[in-house]
């Protein structure tokens, strides 16, 4: 708190270097390409721009004709309002145990689709790790040193202390009530991930590393996917639509939490790899 009052009084030393700057890439001395190459490239880019404009205009015309020919917006009895929708809305509660039809639909009827979606997130974070993991020891030491010397922002830290519990509670609420109210694994997981990111920004990633190391990160996201796969396997094995409504509700809840864990670790992983190149 004293740091905060000092800051307000203007006695806090103004930090000169707070952000991590990677070592600048040495640009090779600019050697002009030969004149013929330059001209060929210019010609190609001009042709490319013209083709791009033509294709865009054609696409606009075709899509506009299509859009105008669509059935009117929000009219009841549109072709999209068909027996599939009636089936989902009509029997979602007894078959999936979820009052939130969308949650019931994506986790039960379309469970494979959502499983693929979680795998996409998993793969995306794997690719980002592969591309951005700072294997260079010097670079990593530089980033860590810079983070250590940078002063913590007093305003951010004070506010984060007040906001974080609310964000965490809200995230949990959205995650655990996904089957009865708006929300679910994806939205709840993103809110929890945002809370983790806020924590890392306000108190430094060393504070996050106390409980969320690379090992925990990998464990959480792999366990999340495995829980999803096994619960969905149980659901299919038990006879899918024929199972008891209470069991189905339980399965939806557990799958939602598994998805939330995957999404949370993915969001924090993206943030961490982009800013520091490691967890």
């Amino acid at each position: 708190m004293s740091a905060f009052t000092n800051w307000v009084d203007g006695e806090h030393p103004v930090p000169l270097k707070t952000e991590f700057k990677p070592t600048p890439v040495k640009k090779p001395a600019k050697k002009r390409a030969s004149l013929g190459d330059e001209r060929r490239l210019d010609g190609f880019l001009r042709l490319y721009a013209r083709c791009g404009v033509v294709i865009s205009v054609m696409l606009l015309i075709v899509l506009l004709i299509g859009a105008v020919a669509l059935p009117a917006f929000a009219a009841p009895g549109n072709p999209t309002d068909n027996e599939v929708v009636h089936r989902y809305v009509g029997s979602a509660e007894e078959e999936t145990g979820a009052e939130n039809v969308i949650a019931g639909m994506i986790l039960n009827y379309r469970g494979f689709d959502t499983f693929g979606e979680s795998c996409v997130l998993f793969l995306a974070v794997c690719c980002v790790m592969l591309l951005l993991w700072a294997t260079n020891d010097r670079l990593r030491a530089e980033a860590r040193a810079c983070e250590k010397t940078a002063p913590r922002d007093a305003i951010l830290a004070t506010n984060a202390k007040m906001i974080l519990p609310c964000v965490l509670c809200f995230g949990m609420c959205v995650l655990f009530n996904g089957h009865v109210s708006p929300g679910g694994g994806f939205s709840g997981g993103s809110i929890l991930g945002a809370a983790l990111i806020l924590f890392a920004v306000a108190f430094g990633s060393d504070a996050v590393r106390r409980f969320f190391t690379a090992k925990v990160f990998n464990t959480v996201r792999i366990t999340g996917l495995l829980i999803y796969a096994s619960m969905f396997g149980v659901y299919i094995y038990q006879g899918a639509n024929g199972i008891d409504s209470n069991l189905a509700r339980y399965i939806v809840l557990v799958i939602d939490i598994a998805v939330g864990l995957v999404v949370m670790s993915t969001m924090y992983g993206f943030y961490s790899f982009y800013t520091k190149g490691e967890l």
Partner: protein, 124 residues
């Protein structure tokens, strides 16, 4: 004609957004801006899907006291599809941004033209 446009205002708005994103992605030389345009295209698709699911005078597909009366709720399927789309769009953006970061590390630029020049020089 005006009626036709008003009836499909969300579809037309999403078409315009989509083409804006598409043209930007084709024509802008900056790689980061190409990714931003790609996200605009994604949003246009989501707007289109979400507007298709709307039915006037009905509420979101979360069952309340009235029970499973089909005529009281909007179409839940586009909402599920948009959810999938958002996740895929986030993943693709993250992956392409990581690629751009590596490209910047290797060539020191994210400009299409300079990249083409640099690649040609490297090939020689």
């Amino acid at each position: 004609m005006l009626n036709l446009i008003l009836d499909n205002r969300f579809a037309i708005a999403s078409v315009i957004l989509f083409v804006t994103g598409f043209a930007n992605m084709m024509l802008h030389p900056n790689l980061i801006k190409k990714i931003v345009s790609f996200n605009i295209m994604d949003s246009a698709t989501f707007l289109m899907l979400a507007s298709r699911g709307m039915i006037a005078g009905r509420s979101a597909a979360i069952l309340t006291d009235g029970g499973a009366d089909v005529t009281r709720y909007v179409n839940p399927i586009p909402a599920g599809l948009v959810l999938t789309g958002i996740v895929v769009s986030v993943s693709v953006s993250a992956f392409s941004l990581a690629l751009v970061q590596r490209i910047y590390g290797a060539y020191g630029t994210v400009d299409m033209r300079e990249l083409l020049e640099a690649m040609k020089k490297k090939g020689e």
